[in-house]
C-alpha cells in the first residue's frame, strides 16, 4: 500500500502494528462486517496532489460570476471584514480545537465565548446570551420553542414582516410540535396592529417581530412589549446586529428574547454559510435557553476561569427532554463576531451603522428621482428599503444581473400583489460610484 495524504505509517510500521495487534492483515480488522454486507460499489475518482486539488477548486470557482455589484441583503449583508478577523480566527489553536469539554486546556475558547456572550448582551440590552446557535432563522425557531416551554402555551404569532426565509424555517421547526403558527399579513410594510389585537389572545406564547423588517422598515415597537406582556406572552425580536449600532436595543423595547444572524459581524457571505445565530434573553429565562452557555467561576486557588455551564439543559444529559437537540454550534463564527465587534469597537459600530444609513438614504433619494419608481415611505429605514417599479421586479432584476448589478431582492414570490416591489440594500462597501451605476443601469432598463 502506498502512503497517501495524511496517513503517515510506513509499510514497516503497519506490519509492526499488525503484529502487536495480533492480526495478519488490516482486512482482518474488518471481519466483524459480514461478507454479504460489504461494499460492492464505491466510485469516487482517484485522489490527487494538493496543487492539483487547489487548481480544480479555482477552476470550479471561476464558473461563478465574479465582481457583481451587490445591492442585495435579505438577512445576509456584504460588510467590511477587518484583516485581523481572518488572521486571529485562523489561529489553529482556535480553529482546530473541539468543544471546550476539558476547561483547563480550553480557557482560550471559553474566555473568548464569555466575551462573545458579553458583547451580545451589551448589543441587545439583555442579561444573558448563549454561546451561539446555527443561524438567524434557526435561532428564531428556537426562540419560539423556548417561548412555548416557558409559557406552557402553544400559539406563536409572527409578524408577516419577519424575513420570509426565517418564517419558513420557523414553520418547519414548529410542524411537529403541538403548536399553532399564526402569521399576520403585513400592512404597508409594517406590523398589522389591528389584526394583532385579534390574534394576541391568552393562548399566545409569543409575538415574533423583526426590525428592521424584510421591507427595510424600522417599525416603531415602543409599547409593544406591554401589550404582549399584558396577555402573558413573550416578545421575541429578530434584529440585525449592525443596525443595533444606532437602533434602540431589544432590551430597551422590553423584549424577552432577542435573536439574529451574526453573519454581518465579520463572517463572509460564503454562499450562505457558515455564519452564526445569536440569542439573548432576560435572566429569568436562562434555564430554558437552548445550546451551550459559558459561565464564570474560580479554580481551586480562587483564580477566575470559565466553564460550560447549566449543562443539565442539554441533550447529552437530558436526552429527549433537553431544551433543544443542538450540540455543535457555530463557535468559530461567533469568535469572528467578537473579534469584529472588538476591532470596530464601541464608537466604530455606531459609526458603521450611521454610514450604512447615510448610503442607503442617498441611494433612496437617487432612485426616487427615476420616473416610475416610488419608494415605500411608511416608516424610516436603515440600510435597505423597498421601491415599487413600473414593471415586475424579477424582470428588472434579471436585466440588471446581465449588466453585473444585483439590484435587490424581489418580493413577488413572498407576498401576493408585490410583483413590482424590490428591496434594495446598501452597505458601507458600496461606493457613490457603485450607487450611481445602479441608478444609471436601472434608468436604462426601465426605459427599454
Amino acid at each position: 500500500m502506498e502512503t497517501s495524504h495524511y496517513c503517515p505509517h510506513t509499510p514497516e510500521e503497519i506490519q509492526e502494528m499488525l503484529a502487536a495487534t495480533g492480526v495478519g492483515s488490516i482486512e482482518e480488522l474488518f471481519d466483524s462486517i459480514p461478507e454479504e454486507l460489504r461494499c460492492k460499489r464505491f466510485n469516487l475518482p482517484p485522489g490527487m496532489s494538493e496543487f492539483e486539488t487547489y487548481n480544480r477548486l479555482k477552476q470550479l470557482c471561476s464558473e461563478n460570476c465574479q465582481d457583481l455589484s451587490l445591492f442585495i441583503g435579505g438577512g445576509y449583508y456584504d460588510h467590511i471584514i477587518p484583516a485581523a478577523v481572518d488572521h486571529l480566527s485562523n489561529r489553529a489553536e482556535f480553529y482546530t480545537a473541539y468543544t471546550p469539554y476539558q476547561p483547563e486546556c480550553s480557557q482560550g475558547t471559553l474566555q473568548a465565548l464569555f466575551e462573545y456572550q458579553t458583547a451580545i448582551c451589551r448589543l441587545t440590552g439583555l442579561d444573558v446570551s448563549n454561546a451561539s446557535l446555527y443561524d438567524g432563522a434557526t435561532a428564531l425557531a428556537e426562540a419560539a420553542l423556548m417561548a412555548i416551554r416557558t409559557t406552557n402555551r402553544s400559539r406563536i404569532v409572527v409578524d408577516g414582516c419577519v424575513s420570509p426565509i426565517a418564517r419558513q424555517v420557523l414553520a418547519t421547526y414548529l410542524s411537529h410540535h403541538d403548536a399553532e403558527l399564526v402569521e399576520l399579513a403585513p400592512l404597508d410594510g409594517l406590523l398589522n396592529r389591528a389584526e394583532l389585537i385579534h390574534q394576541l389572545d391568552d393562548q399566545a406564547a409569543a409575538l415574533l417581530v423583526q426590525y428592521p423588517n424584510v421591507f427595510g422598515c424600522i417599525d416603531d415597537f415602543t409599547g409593544l412589549a406591554d401589550q404582549v406582556h399584558a396577555k402573558g406572552a413573550l416578545l421575541v425580536t429578530a434584529v440585525y446586529p449592525v443596525a443595533l449600532g444606532i437602533l434602540k436595543s431589544p432590551g430597551e423595547l422590553g423584549a424577552d428574547i432577542a435573536v439574529g444572524d451574526g453573519q454581518s459581524l465579520g463572517n463572509p457571505l460564503s454562499f450562505g454559510g457558515p455564519s452564526f445565530g445569536f440569542m439573548a434573553a432576560r435572566k429569568s429565562h436562562i434555564r430554558n435557553i437552548p445550546g451551550r452557555i459559558v459561565g464564570e467561576t474560580v479554580d481551586k486557588n480562587g483564580k477566575r476561569g470559565f466553564v460550560l455551564t447549566l449543562q443539565a439543559r442539554e441533550q447529552h444529559i437530558k436526552r429527549h427532554k433537553a431544551t433543544s437537540n443542538i450540540c455543535s454550534n457555530q463557535s468559530l463564527c461567533a469568535l469572528r463576531g467578537l473579534i469584529f465587534l472588538s476591532a470596530v469597537g464601541k464608537q466604530g459600530l455606531a459609526d458603521l451603522a450611521r454610514l450604512n444609513y447615510d448610503k442607503a438614504e442617498y441611494t433612496k433619494s437617487s432612485l426616487a428621482r427615476i420616473p416610475g419608481v416610488t419608494v415605500l415611505q411608511t416608516a424610516p429605514t436603515f440600510n435597505e428599503f423597498t421601491i415599487s417599479l413600473p414593471k415586475p421586479a424579477v424582470q428588472v432584476v434579471e436585466a440588471l444581473l446581465a449588466r453585473g448589478v444585483v439590484a435587490g431582492l424581489p418580493l413577488g414570490s413572498f407576498y401576493d400583489g408585490s410583483e413590482n416591489l424590490l428591496v434594495v440594500t446598501v452597505t458601507e462597501k458600496r461606493t457613490r460610484k457603485d450607487i450611481e451605476l445602479l441608478v444609471k443601469e436601472l434608468e436604462v432598463v426601465l426605459c427599454n
Binding site: Y98, G125, E296, D299, Q315
Partner: protein, 481 residues
C-alpha cells in the same frame, strides 16, 4: 488573563472605517435610537491582536496536541482546505434564487451537487441534501423526513427506537420531530440487544436510529437483521454518521438497509471543529424519501446541462435553515474528498481502525476493557480498576493534560462506568501513539502507587480544576464590570 473589556480605554478607537462619500442624511427619529452606544471593547488593533493571540495559546488543539477525543474524529485539518474555502467567500446566497441567478453561480452549485453525489456514493444513498448545519441538525432533518414519509403513507407512528449507547442528540432530535423514545439496552456482547429489540418493535415505531459502528466502537453484525425487522413494521432505519470514519469503502449504510443517513463533515471529512462549530450535517436518503427533501433542491437539467434550483414542492418538509447549509465547510470537505480520492478515503478508514486496535491491545493490560473484541475506529476502556483506588476517569484526564495530551472522551457512552473513549484517527503517527500509550501506562501505575496525587492535577495550565457547581449557581454568563 484580563477580559478584553477590562483592557478597554474610553475613547480609544480600533479599525478605521471607510470615509463617507455621500451626504449625511437627516437623523432617524429619536424614538427609534438607542439611548447609549453599546458598551463594546475600545482597544487598539495591536492590543486586540495580542489579546486573541494570547487567548489562543490557552487552548489545546489538533495542531498543537494529540487530541484522541472519542466520537469526535479529531483528525488533521489540512491547510489547503482553508485556502479553498476562501476562494468562495464573496458570493451572496440569494443571487442563486434570482431569475437567471443560478447561471451566475454554477461553480457554487456545482460544488454542492458534486459533493452530494460523492456523499451518496460513499453512503449508498440516492440523493443528499446539504442544508443541515451540523450533525444534530441533520438528525432533526432526517426525522422530519421520516415523519413526512409516514404522513404521506397515512401511517400512524408514535415512537423512535434508540439503543442506550446512542448519542444524546438522537433522542433529542427525534423529540424535535414529535416522537416519543423507546430505549433498548445493550447486550453483554456490546451491541443493541436483538431479542429485546424484536420485542419492542411494533406498528407504531416510526424509525430506528443507529450509530454503526456504535459508540463502543463496535460494528453490529446483525445490522441487516435489525433493518429487516424494522422494515417489516414499516419503520425506517436512520444512520447516525458520527462514526463513518471507520467504514469508508468497506460497507455502505444504504446497502445494509438504512433509509436515511446524516454525515458529520467536520468529523469524517477533515474539516476543522472550530472550538465547537461550525459543522455540517448533510442528509442522504433512499428514493422513497426524495419527495420530502428540504427546499431549495439542486437539480441537474438534462436539456442544457446546467444546475437549477427547485424551490417549490408541496411534499417537502420545507426549509430547515437559511440557505444551502454551511457552504464554506462543505467546500473544505469537498476539497478533502477529491484530494484523497477513492483509495485515500479507504486508507483513512483502514488506518483509523488499525490505530484504535493498536492502542487497545497496548493498553488492555492496564485498563479494564469491558467489550474485549476487535474494535473499529475507537476503543472504550473503563477506569474501574483505577476507581478501586479512588482514581476516576476525570483524574486520568487531568493527568493527561499535564502531560500535553488532550484527554479522550470520558463518561461517554453512558453505559460504561468511568468510560475512557479513545479515537486516535488515521493521521497520527506510530511515534505519537507510542508516546501516548506510555503516558497512559504511567497514569495507571500512578493510580496504583500514588492515587492521591491526582487531586491537584492539572498543574501546568493557566487554571487548576474549576468549580462547576459555583458556575451553575452564580449564573454569571456576562461580564458586568
Amino acid at each position: 488573563m484580563q477580559l478584553i473589556y477590562e483592557k478597554s480605554v474610553s475613547g480609544r478607537r480600533g479599525v478605521m472605517l471607510p470615509a463617507s462619500d455621500v451626504p449625511s442624511a437627516a437623523s432617524l427619529p429619536q424614538n427609534l435610537l438607542r439611548a447609549d452606544t453599546a458598551n463594546l471593547p475600545e482597544i487598539s488593533e495591536l492590543d486586540l491582536v495580542r489579546h486573541f493571540t494570547n487567548l489562543s495559546r490557552r487552548n489545546f488543539s489538533v495542531d498543537t496536541n494529540f487530541y484522541p477525543l472519542g466520537s469526535c474524529t479529531m483528525k488533521y485539518n489540512a491547510k489547503v482546505l482553508e485556502n479553498a474555502a476562501a476562494l468562495f467567500a464573496p458570493f451572496h446566497p440569494l443571487t442563486a434564487l434570482l431569475p437567471g441567478g443560478d447561471s451566475l453561480c454554477q461553480g457554487s452549485l456545482g460544488m454542492l451537487y458534486d459533493l452530494g453525489q460523492m456523499l451518496a456514493d460513499i453512503t449508498g444513498m440516492d440523493e443528499v441534501t446539504t442544508q443541515p448545519l451540523a450533525g444534530a441538525h441533520g438528525e432533526m432533518t432526517g426525522m422530519l423526513l421520516v415523519a413526512a414519509y409516514h404522513k404521506a403513507k397515512g401511517n400512524r407512528k408514535k415512537y423512535v427506537v434508540v439503543p442506550d449507547s446512542s448519542h444524546g442528540t438522537n433522542p433529542a432530535s427525534a423529540a424535535m420531530a414529535g416522537y416519543e423514545i423507546i430505549t433498548i439496552p445493550t447486550a453483554p456482547y456490546g451491541d443493541m440487544d436483538l431479542e429485546l429489540f424484536r420485542q419492542a418493535m411494533n406498528g407504531e415505531v416510526a424509525a430506528v436510529m443507529m450509530t454503526c459502528p456504535n459508540t463502543l466502537g463496535l460494528f453490529n453484525p446483525y445490522i441487516k437483521d435489525i433493518a429487516d425487522i424494522a422494515h417489516s413494521h414499516d419503520a425506517l432505519m436512520y444512520y447516525d454518521g458520527a462514526n463513518l470514519n471507520a467504514i469508508m469503502g468497506k460497507v455502505r449504510p444504504g446497502d445494509v438497509g438504512f433509509d436515511v443517513v446524516h454525515l458529520n463533515l467536520h468529523k469524517t471529512f477533515g474539516t476543522p471543529h472550530g472550538g465547537g462549530g461550525p459543522g455540517s450535517g448533510p442528509v442522504g436518503v433512499k428514493k422513497s424519501l426524495i419527495p420530502f427533501l428540504p427546499m431549495p433542491r439542486i437539480i441537474h437539467d438534462e436539456v442544457d446541462g446546467k444546475l437549477k434550483l427547485q424551490t417549490d414542492n408541496e411534499q417537502s418538509i420545507g426549509r430547515t435553515a437559511n440557505f444551502f447549509g454551511n457552504f464554506g465547510v462543505m467546500v473544505k470537505a469537498y476539497t478533502y474528498m477529491i484530494m484523497l480520492g477513492r483509495e485515500g478515503l479507504i486508507q483513512a478508514s483502514e488506518q483509523a481502525v488499525l490505530n484504535a486496535n493498536y492502542i487497545k491491545e497496548k493498553l488492555k493490560a492496564y485498563y479494564d476493557l469491558p467489550y474485549d473484541k476487535t474494535c473499529m475506529h475507537e476503543v472504550v476502556f473503563s477506569a474501574s480498576n483505577q476507581l478501586a483506588k479512588g482514581v476516576h476517569a476525570i483524574d486520568i484526564a487531568k493527568f493527561l493534560i499535564d502531560k500535553g495530551y488532550h484527554p479522550p472522551t470520558v463518561y461517554f457512552p453512558l453505559i460504561v462506568k468511568e468510560a475512557i473513549m479513545i479515537e486516535p484517527t488515521e493521521t497520527e503517527s506510530k511515534q505519537t501513539m507510542d508516546a501516548f500509550i506510555e503516558v497512559m501506562i504511567e497514569a495507571a501505575r500512578l493510580a496504583e502507587n500514588s492515587p492521591d496525587s491526582f487531586a491537584a492535577m492539572p498543574v501546568t495550565m493557566p487554571v487548576t480544576r474549576l468549580d462547576e457547581t459555583r458556575a451553575a449557581r452564580s449564573q454569571t454568563v456576562c461580564y458586568l464590570g
